[in-house]
Amino acid sequence: MLNRTTTPSLQQIDKIDFVKPLVFDIAGTTKLFHMKEVPNDTSRLDLYFDAGTARGEKGIASFVNGLLLSGTDTKTSVEINGEIDALGGFFESGISSENAVLSVYALKENLLPILKILVDAIEHLAFQTHEVEEIINDRKQKFKVNMEKVSFLAQREFQSRLFNDSLYGRITDEKDFDLIEIENLKKFHVEHYLQGLQKVVIIGDLPDVEIHSTIELVKKWTVTKNGTYEKDLQNLQGEFHVDKSGAVQSALRIGRILFNKTHEDYHDFIFLNTILGDYFGSRLMSNIREDKGYTYGIGSMLAELHETGYFLIATEVGKDVREATIVEIQKELTRLQEELIENEEIELVRNYLLGQLLKSADGPYSMADLYLSVEPYGLELDFYNQAIESLNLITPKRIQELAKKYLNWEDFTIVSAG
């Protein structure tokens, strides 16, 4: 008779193979990383620029980012997009406080032809008045729509309190959109794109000759002076509320400045964070969703910046249970500080994290991203072997110690909106 009550025997993950991409020097500090081992025709290209939102005057970076394919003196934006589409390319541009990343997804034989179109579009970007006016108009409308969302309101308030009066804490208002001047956009484009290329990534089975062609194409944009990044930040502690009439839910954002991968407590803190709020069985999910039914979801994370990082708990809850939720979150933090964790929970989280790491290393795209998340800190893939080692050595006492050190309510910025 089949025994359905006990779990089938489990096998430990004993080894994960980490593969490093090939590294090519472009010029100065700018490098190209090539992950060649892709067993199909897909490919991806990323271009990293020193063009994050903390650079330049408030709001400028994001507009330049949005205008990159808006036309040259000889080509309209429609023509540029049409050419990329005709090669089956998917173009994305993303921006964070610290950099801007342009990505292209395409079949490998089309990647270089698309890059040529992209290089021409960016090099000769004309900032035509009608294109600038159009994006300002679109962004204004999007901004107004976003201001109707409690999640956006909370995130915005949190960012300004967390990063306080640093450059990362600058938030845009509707009126900022009217202050955008074309001359400032042009200046930013020259300084942060045409002289701002920090890194190139290619994933795909492209021949070496195409890698060298890529280098030749983008070399002229190599970053000339690397900007500095904010460090030694201090979040503004205390509770802050943004009112939104008519909301049926409140958004909560609770967190503090912390650290990134270079910190000695990093690996163990990731373990603690997972227990608290970073998987489906986490304490926050178990209590606030699965026991109380206050929310559709709640989670915590450690977000990393170049020189620092921050810890964040985020959720949307019924308006009537906002206070009750805050009390429960606080309780969960205190519980981690006061009670030692049972070995079974440690083992579960350890196995779960090992499984996640196995997944993060599965396939060339994931593997490349794994490498790219340590490379900026001067770390190598051995970082993940250390992570596995830490997973195997962690103790209930160590977790409690970290909870006492980093999860004190009085150190937090607590934001609600709704």
């Binding site: 067993p39 997804y105 409690v150 839910q249 083992e347 997944k359 396939g363």
Partner: protein
């Protein structure tokens, strides 16, 4: 090409196996042939609420997620108007844990009152978060009953109203399970680096003794062909006027489904699409515009939606939009445009096929449609599409009497 093996257990459970030697992970995907379209109009939102309950413990196992996490895996699920799909991703060497868990919840659930009460609340919060507390969030709750008068697509997966979820009883839950969660109503796909023999014996071991049950017959009221233009305007506290044009389109098994998909790409997938160029870049009527299909198994919708620029009247947009639709009816699209649409479809497909989970889900879906190998044939259908197919489809689709329009009129708040 996605290769697979297929066999059926005695209890009627269809098993698909997809071998991939390159990954250390395994996927166990279970599709149940039940969605919101199978609900009664008085008790909507049930298929989705039930999906939540499937994580609340089964007859022999008090907690679904913890043992899977202990095995290094994770799990999730989604419900649509057509199907309910569950998946587990875990290290291949621990595959048995996923089979143990999935088979036990197919055998029977724990049905605890606490689980029902909590998940009712969770789903109500989901309802608020996605549909009520977002600008334009309730559009689909309004649009579905406008476009469908008879077919159960007239309500959203989340349910018609919160009250239906509040009123769900334990008796409803048990009945739903008994009727729909039987092996003969499920398709299981296992993907990973295994041998077929291993998969045969493991599935027989864990799923073989579950009573087969009877696959419930599906008799849905067919939506009569629309022969009147429908329009509704709602006023909302939102910053911009928005429009949602819905055109009835062929069902998933019809080749017209693919023609309509490509038509929607031509109209509004990319920044080189017709509506984007004409209505946004040239005449500056809209700030955003998109065209897409709902992907439904029964007759679905081709959607054209977007937001008006300030000061633009709905009537101006309507005129310009129909004039673009007329062009598709009157003139066959050029080879170059068709080529551009096709290479994007091919590129997107290559990327999607990379994911093991994606392959497993697609195999199950196509098996439900009649043959898992459809996943491989789909590509050929797309590549064989000719300009005249699209023109004929456009002529058939883009008629006023086949259209339902929902307008969201912005009313400014009192500050």
């Amino acid at each position: 090409m996605i290769k697979f093996d297929r066999f059926k257990l005695k209890n009627g459970l269809t098993v698909l196996f997809h071998k991939d030697v390159t990954t250390p992970l395994a996927v166990v995907n279970t599709l149940y042939d039940v969605g919101a379209r199978d609900e009664s109009e008085e008790k909507t939102g049930f298929a989705h609420l039930f999906e939540h309950l499937m994580f609340g413990g089964s007859v022999n196992i008090p907690d679904f997620d913890a043992p899977l996490q202990m095995a290094g895996g994770e799990s999730n699920a989604f419900t649509s108007n057509d199907i309910t799909n569950y998946y587990d991703v875990l290290p291949a060497k621990n595959i048995e844990t996923a089979l143990w868990l999935e088979s036990d919840r197919m055998l029977s659930l724990a049905f605890t009152p606490k689980s029902l009460e909590v998940q009712r609340n969770v789903v109500i919060e989901e309802f608020k978060q996605r549909y009520l507390n977002q600008p334009y969030g309730d559009v689909w709750l309004k649009l579905r009953p406008l476009a469908y008068k008879v077919h159960p697509y007239k309500w959203a997966t989340i349910g018609k109203e919160i009250k239906h979820i509040e009123d769900a009883t334990m008796e409803d839950v048990r009945g739903f399970f008994k009727k729909h969660y039987v092996p003969s109503n499920a398709i299981l796909c296992i993907a990973g680096n295994f041998e077929l023999d291993t998969i045969r014996s493991l599935t027989e071991k864990w799923f073989g003794d579950i009573p087969g049950g009877i696959k419930p017959a599906r008799v849905l009221p067919a939506e009569p062909s629309q022969n009147e233009y429908r329009e509704e305007t709602i006023e909302r506290n939102v910053p911009a006027d928005a429009f949602y044009y819905a055109f009835k389109m062929p069902e998933r098994r019809d080749e017209g489904y693919y023609f309509t998909d490509v038509l929607s790409d031509a109209l509004g997938r990319d920044k080189s699409s017709r509506l984007y160029i004409s209505l946004k870049k040239e005449s500056k009527l809209v700030s955003e515009i998109n065209a897409y299909i709902t992907g439904s198994l029964d007759n679905g919708l081709l959607m054209i939606s977007g937001k008006l620029n300030e000061g633009v009247a709905f009537e101006d947009l309507d005129k310009a939009l129909w004039s673009e639709l007329e062009k598709l009816k009157n003139t066959a699209i050029e080879e170059m445009e068709l080529h551009r649409l096709m290479i994007k479809i091919r590129t997107a497909r290559e990327f999607q096929e990379q994911g093991l989970l994606n392959r497993a889900m697609n195999l199950c879906l196509f098996e439900l449609l009649g043959d898992a190998n459809g996943v491989n044939i789909e590509h050929e259908i797309y590549q064989s599409i000719q300009p005249e197919h699209l023109q004929e489809t456009a002529i058939h689709l883009f008629k006023k009497e086949n259209c339902s329009l929902l307008k969201v009129k912005s009313v400014k708040h009192a500050e």
